[in-house]
């Protein structure tokens, strides 16, 4: 990030966004990590001090949005970044911000995840948010564009005093490309909040709100003119001979251009501002074609708009390309070949069929060897018994759903485990055990915990405190007493928090997951009490713990299986499910490279066959 102007570097989209924001004079940024947007925060955390700007991890996306919006209200250029579902959380504050407006550039980066290749919950298409919120939306298709269009978005935001949504998708966020660096200005990091009671309060009587709403629409009309004029929406291969014109946006543009390298040039209208759309530009572009092919991932948003704009043209899109799942470059190639009547020699279908004939065991994500959560899952499964309901939440522990443990019955949204647990307790006598991570608990677990205590509920809530926000790539959070910029700060104690929420002091326990018996006993006792209880299972994420040990040269005591004692019950492999254990013939073996020495397998082995490895 500290590299000089004019240099070319390879950046993934997330890094390019940060560079672009810095070149645009970013003064403050706030984020809650969520893949595929996480590396935006990571990069900001790395460079903030050096760049002389402020960056923080906020407790959730709504808070992050508010922090950044407030900076922009006070005249400092700001940015917030989140994953698609994060925008749902932030949307409560996004909607009024279009009314209130900003005084300096304010860009809200949102990362969608078609095919959910890096996150869960669903294939939400956040392009609709721009329309509900009445704010412009800019979309980039590669790293260089990320950098350029973020700067564009800041200018647009400031010029029209509106938040601007900057939408990315996984393959752009995590796609790398060459970026030419520009000049870094001295950022403006100090502002001043100028009071404007009338503008900043959207209050009844309705007349005033209606007037503000009207103004937003007038503003959007003006932005539409910009959308018509600016090169953010541009045509390539304008002169190419063709009866089909292509309209596309985002990552799909790169697949289209790649396909045209092979099929020959065709005219393409690339939409960089998906709201408001350049309606006249679309009409003008469409004029000379009899067919328009719209290439966009997820919902047919552009397609529906194009169809309305040029009702006399044939518009195709989702009849050739899928609505669900991300596009693959070959999907786009074949769609283009089909619509133009061109041939493509390679038979992708046959190739896929041949490939499917190979027998390859699946390899899904698994809890890492030594992960403290494994011990808690296995303990909860044994303690809870059959019929226990396990409401789950968002984090590495989503892997509790693996059949070895089967302790994550459903995943809805951040913090939802606690709300659902209470609801189930109100209508069923089943045991209910919740798993929620430290960061997720602080993100959205507190209001439902207060609710559960207030409304006299009795689930067992296990907070898996691994001292970090692990799944998104190890970001700090308030329970570790460390800020994004690496400064020590007040550490939020989850136990204290639980008591303050109304959980009886006697029902708040702390356990070390590496002590299997203590973990099991705590869960068993809590279930027998039939009262609302919180168990904090605290142990640092082993990825970090091992990294530290290696760095400090601390000896890691690995384990091995004594096959003269092993009775081949398979608990370590099939129920405890440690990936460091596998079979060689009939014997169970621990892989020396993978074992991190947690030793929990030796505690769960009923035959005492797993022991510290004797040094060679």
């Amino acid at each position: 990030m500290d590299k000089k102007a004019g240099r070319k570097v390879v950046f993934i989209g997330n890094e390019a966004v940060v560079r672009g924001a810095l070149e645009a004079g970013l003064g403050l940024a706030a984020s809650y990590p969520g893949t595929p947007s996480s590396e935006i925060g990571d990069s900001l955390a790395t460079i903030a001090k050096q760049a002389g700007i402020y960056f923080e991890y906020s407790t959730n996306e709504k808070v992050a949005f508010e922090v950044a919006a407030a900076a922009a209200l006070s005249g400092v250029r700001s940015l917030t970044a989140m994953k698609h579902y994060g925008l749902n959380v932030a949307s409560d504050s996004l909607m009024p911000m279009a009314y209130v407006g900003v005084n300096a550039g304010f860009v809200v980066v949102v990362a969608d995840d078609p095919s959910c290749s890096s996150s869960g919950q669903g294939e939400e298409d956040t392009r609709y948010f721009a329309r509900i919120a009445h704010v412009p939306m800019v979309e980039a298709s590669d790293s260089q564009e990320c950098k350029d269009l973020i700067k564009y978005a800041f200018d647009l935001s400031e010029k029209f005093k509106t938040p601007v949504l900057f939408r990315m998708t996984t393959r752009v966020n995590h796609g790398g490309g060459i970026v030419k660096l520009g000049i870094l200005p001295t950022p403006k990091t100090r502002g001043f909040f100028v009071k404007d009671f009338k503008r900043y309060n959207i209050l009844p009587p309705g007349k005033e709100v209606v007037r503000m709403h009207k103004e937003i629409h007038a503003k959007l009309e003006k932005i539409k003119l910009v959308s018509e004029k600016d090169r953010i929406n541009f045509v390539v291969n304008e002169k190419a001979e063709s009866r089909v014109g292509i309209i596309t946006c985002g990552i799909s543009y790169s697949y289209v251009m790649e396909a045209l390298e092979d099929l020959g040039p065709m005219p393409v209208l690339k939409i960089g501002m998906t709201y408001p759309l350049p309606e006249q530009k679309i009409k003008d572009f469409a004029e000379r074609f009899d067919t328009l092919l719209v290439v966009e991932e997820l919902e047919p948003l552009l397609e529906e708009n194009v169809r309305m704009l040029v009702p006399d043209k044939k518009v195709v899109g989702k009849e050739l390309l899928p609505t669900a799942g991300e596009y693959k470059p070959e999907d786009v190639l074949l769609a283009l070949a089909k619509v133009t009547g061109k041939k493509w020699d390679f038979d992708f279908e046959k190739h896929e069929k041949d490939f499917a004939k190979l027998k390859i065991p699946k390899r899904g994500s698994v809890l890492c060897p030594g992960c403290p959560e494994r011990s808690v899952f296995y303990a909860a499964k044994l303690a809870g018994g059959s019929g226990t309901v396990f409401p789950g939440d968002i984090g590495c522990y989503i892997l509790g759903m693996s059949p070895q443990y089967a302790v994550q019955d459903f995943t809805i949204s951040m913090g939802a485990s606690v709300g659902f647990a209470h609801g189930i307790k109100k209508v069923s006598d089943q045991n209910v055990i919740v798993f929620i991570g430290d960061s997720t608990f602080l993100h959205a677990g507190i209001p439902p915990l207060i609710n559960a205590a207030y409304n006299k509920s009795s689930p067992v809530i296990i907070v898996l405190d691994n001292r970090i926000t692990a799944m998104t790539g190890h970001q700090p959070n308030p329970s570790m007493g460390l800020t994004a910029m690496g400064e020590r700060t007040k550490e939020v104690m989850i136990e204290t928090m639980a008591k303050a929420c109304g959980v009886d002091t006697a029902n708040v326990k702390t356990v070390d997951p590496y002590n299997f018996k203590a973990t099991y006993d705590a869960i068993k006792t809590a279930l027998e009490k039939k009262q609302l209880s919180v168990i904090v299972a605290r142990r640092e994420c082993q990825l970090l713990a091992v990294r530290k040990k290696l760095k400090e040269g601390v000896f890691i005591q690995k384990y091995e299986i004594d096959n003269s004692l092993c009775k081949k019950c398979g608990i370590c492999l099939r129920q405890f499910g440690c990936p460091a254990i596998h079979m060689e013939g009939r014997n169970y073996v621990i892989d020396d490279v993978l074992c991190t020495g947690c030793g929990v397998c030796s505690q769960v082995c009923p035959n005492k066959a797993i022991k510290p490895k004797v040094k060679e």
Partner: protein
């Protein structure tokens, strides 16, 4: 596109697939080529299959390699090499460079599946690609470098040695140097040189 070179790097989350990708991208950049990459982050990194793409040439748009169009597949794990056959084809004359290190997917034991033996894997790779080279990268670096994490850089050297990579030794080494903190350069240089020696 015909003159674009497509590489697919696969392995298991945590093995250093991304590191290898970033080094190769930097080396291609150093040679003045257009570069596009595709990384994988998030939950998939936790012990799951990881597939990353790298494409370089004069004009490159898509960061993703189309099925059957990889020129080189580097796999840090045997089973994952087989899974990458989707990207291989006779037409693309795909070469495979495979670390003959095995990681057993825990689900295999729940689903009663078998990890294919070497013969089956070789047959699969040969069916889809041109050549398949297996090397004991993890074992070699464990013995001679003392750090299994350098297996990826060993494979980089080996890919160059086998003539699988249209990038110069100089730019590869320069990229290795740029990627790692200075104190880790020596062990990685050692791993690279070991790979170059076979």
């Amino acid at each position: 596109m015909k003159d674009t070179f497509n590489i697919v790097i696969t392995g298991v989350g945590g093995q250093g697939v991304l590191t290898l990708l970033k080094i190769l991208a930097e080396a291609a950049l150093k040679q003045g080529l257009e570069v596009k990459t595709s990384e994988l982050h998030g939950l998939a990194q936790r012990g799951g299959s990881i597939t990353c793409n790298l494409r370089f040439g004069k004009r490159v748009f898509s960061p993703m390699v189309r099925n059957g169009e990889a020129n080189l597949i580097i796999s840090l794990e045997e089973l994952e090499a087989m899974r990458a056959c989707r990207y291989a084809s006779k037409e693309a004359k795909t070469n495979f460079l495979v670390n003959s290190y095995r990681m057993y997917p825990p689900m295999m034991y729940v689903n009663n599946e078998k990890y294919p033996d070497r013969k089956q894997i070789t047959a699969g790779l040969k069916k889809f690609g041109r050549r398949a080279v297996f090397v004991d990268a993890t074992a070699v670096v464990k013995k001679f470098v003392g750090n299994t994490r350098t297996a990826n850089v060993y494979l980089l050297g080996r890919a160059k040695k086998e003539g699988f990579l249209p990038l110069s030794r100089e730019s590869l080494l320069a990229a290795v140097k740029e990627f790692f903190p200075e104190k880790h350069f020596d062990i990685n240089k050692k791993a690279f040189d070991l790979g170059m020696k076979k």
